[in-house]
C-alpha cells in the first residue's frame, strides 16, 4: 500500500523538504535549514507545520454528543460548543489508550474529532454509524510560537483571535475554514483546517507573513520538551491514562464510557509506574528503548528521548516505578555506557 500524501505535498517538495513515511503518510521531516533551526523558530517566533496526517472524523446529528460521551474518557459537559477538549479512547479490556484525541466542538451537533494518523479508522469505528472520515477533504496547518497570533492576524484575523482551546469557523479567501487554539509544541498557537484546494494558498500566505516551515523532527523535539505524550511511546498498548499521568482526562462521574470498568479496576488496585522526566548531563541524546537503571538494575526503558535544543542537554520520558521520586539519581544505559540521569518535573521547558 502506498503512503498517502498531504494536499501540500507539492509545496513541501518544492521547498526541498526531506520527506519520510509517518503513520501511513509521507510527510516532511525537515526543510532546508534543518530541524534545530525550526525548533528554535517555534520557541522564539512562529512556525507552520503541515499536520494534515492527523485525522478528521466528523460526527453530526442529535445523538453526536452522546456518541462521543460514551466513546471517550473526558466529559464534554465540562466544555461547550466552540471549545476543544483533549480526550482518550480506551481498550475495553485493559484500559490501554488506543488513541489520544482532540475534539473540536464546532457548534451544536457538529464535532470534528482529530485522532492520530494511524488510528483514524479505529476512532471512526468506535464512534459508530454517522461518523465520517473527512481527512481527505482538508489540510490542517498548525501555526505555533510566541509570535504566531501576531503574524497570523493580517492574514486571517478571525483565526488569530481564537481563544486558547477555543474553536471557530470563518471564511478565508472565500472558503470556509475551521480553527482552534490548540497545538503540540508547548507554545501558544492556532490550528487551521482549510479545504484541500485552498491549502497551498493559505500556506503561501502564512509563509509570506513570516511563518517558518517546520517538519516532524522539530515537532517531536518541541513536544518532548513540553512533556507531551506521543501515541506509540508514552501512550498505547499496555499503557493506561493513569500511568501516563493523565488521570485528569478521565471523568468518572459522567456515566459509562468504553474501558471504564477496566480502568476503575486498575485505579482501585493502584498503578505500578508513572510517566516521569529525566535529564542527563551533556549533549548525548538518550533514545527510545535505552534501559534505565536503578542501582545497576534495569527498572524501565526510555519511551522518548532526544537532545533538547532549548536546554542544550539530553532529556527523556519514561514510565518509572512509582517509588521513584523527583530528584532521584538513576542511570541510562547508552549502548553500554552508563550515563547519570536525574528525575525532574515536567515539562522540561515551561511556557
Amino acid at each position: 500500500m502506498t503512503d498517502r500524501t498531504s494536499p501540500l505535498d507539492a509545496v513541501h517538495r518544492a521547498l526541498d523538504a526531506r520527506i519520510v513515511p509517518f503513520g501511513g503518510w509521507e510527510m516532511p521531516l525537515n526543510y532546508a535549514d534543518g530541524s534545530l533551526a525550526e525548533h528554535r523558530a517555534c520557541r522564539t517566533d512562529a512556525v507552520v507545520f503541515d499536520v494534515s496526517h492527523l485525522g478528521t472524523v466528523r460526527v453530526t446529528g442529535s445523538d453526536a454528543h452522546e456518541r462521543l460521551q460514551r466513546a471517550f474518557t473526558n466529559d464534554l459537559d465540562r466544555v461547550a460548543p466552540g471549545r476543544a477538549q483533549y480526550t482518550h479512547l480506551l481498550d475495553p479490556d485493559d484500559a490501554s489508550v488506543l488513541d489520544d484525541i482532540i475534539v473540536w466542538w464546532v457548534d451544536g451537533d457538529r464535532f470534528d474529532v482529530m485522532p492520530n494518523a494511524s488510528n483514524t479508522d479505529r476512532v471512526t469505528g468506535a464512534l459508530g454509524d454517522g461518523a465520517i472520515d473527512v481527512t481527505a477533504e482538508r489540510a490542517v496547518l498548525a501555526l505555533q510560537g510566541p509570535r504566531a497570533r501576531e503574524r497570523l492576524a493580517p492574514v486571517f484575523p478571525e483565526a488569530a483571535e481564537v481563544a486558547r482551546f477555543g474553536v471557530g469557523t470563518a471564511e478565508w479567501a472565500g472558503v470556509r475554514c475551521t480553527f482552534a487554539g490548540t497545538g503540540y509544541t508547548g507554545e501558544d498557537g492556532v490550528e487551521v483546517a482549510v479545504p484541500a484546494d485552498s491549502a497551498a494558498a493559505l500556506w503561501e500566505a502564512v509563509t509570506v507573513a513570516g511563518f517558518v516551515p517546520a517538519g516532524l523532527g522539530a515537532r517531536d523535539t518541541l513536544r518532548l520538551e513540553a512533556g507531551l505524550p506521543l501515541h506509540g511511546h508514552e501512550l498505547g498498548p499496555g499503557i493506561n491514562p493513569l500511568e501516563a499521568g493523565l488521570g485528569w482526562v478521565v471523568r468518572w462521574d459522567k456515566g459509562d464510557f468504553i474501558g471504564r470498568d477496566a480502568l476503575l479496576a486498575i485505579k482501585e488496585a493502584g498503578v505500578g509506574r508513572r510517566l516521569r522526566g529525566l535529564t542527563v548531563e551533556g549533549r548525548r541524546p538518550p533514545r527510545d528503548g535505552y534501559p534505565i537503571l536503578r542501582d545497576g538494575e534495569a527498572v524501565a526503558a526510555v519511551s522518548s528521548g532526544n537532545f533538547s535544543p532549548t536546554l542544550g542537554h539530553g532529556i527523556a520520558l519514561a514510565l518509572l516505578p512509582v517509588d521513584v521520586a523527583e530528584g532521584d539519581r538513576l542511570a541510562i544505559d547508552v549502548r553500554g555506557t552508563e550515563v547519570p540521569a536525574t528525575v525532574v518535573p515536567l515539562p522540561f521547558v515551561g511556557r
Binding site: 534543518g34 549533549r283 548525548r284 541524546p285 533514545r287
Partner: protein, 125 residues
C-alpha cells in the same frame, strides 16, 4: 554535493585526507545531509590503537546514531576537541572544521579507498 578531488572516501560515507603518515577523517557532505543536525560527537581517546574497520567515533543527530569506522589501521594521534561544544561543525564544514580525528597510519596501502569519482558513483547508485 561537495566532493573535494584531493580526498579519498569509503563506502561508509567517510573521507580521508592523507598527509604524510597521518590520515585525517570525517564524514562526507552526503552523510551530514542524510544525518540531519548533528548534536553530539563521541571522539576517540588520543593514543587508541585501531584496526581498519574498528569503530572510532559515534555521530548523533536528532534522528539517529551513526558509527564512524577507522578506514585504515593505526593510532589516534589527535581529535577535534571543538566538537564537544560545536558538533554542528560536521554539518557546516564537513571537510574542514568538522574533521573528527587524525590517525597515524604509517605507509598505508590506500587501494581499499575510493577516489572522488568512485565515491560519487557509489552515492548515485
Amino acid at each position: 554535493m561537495n566532493l573535494p578531488e584531493e580526498l579519498r572516501y569509503t563506502k561508509d560515507h567517510e573521507w580521508v585526507r592523507i598527509d604524510g603518515s597521518i590520515a585525517r577523517i570525517g564524514i562526507t557532505d552526503y552523510a551530514q545531509d542524510a544525518l540531519g543536525d548533528v548534536v553530539f560527537v563521541q571522539v576517540p581517546d588520543v593514543g587508541t590503537a585501531v584496526a581498519a574497520g574498528d569503530t572510532v567515533s559515534e555521530v548523533e543527530s536528532t534522528k539517529s546514531v551513526s558509527e564512524i569506522y577507522a578506514p585504515l589501521a593505526g593510532t589516534v594521534v589527535a581529535v577535534n576537541a571543538d566538537l564537544a561544544d560545536a558538533p554542528q561543525r560536521l554539518n557546516e564544514d564537513p571537510y574542514g572544521e568538522g574533521w573528527i580525528c587524525d590517525i597515524e597510519v604509517g605507509d598505508a596501502d590506500l587501494d581499499g579507498l575510493l577516489d572522488a569519482p568512485g565515491y560519487q558513483a557509489l552515492v548515485e547508485d
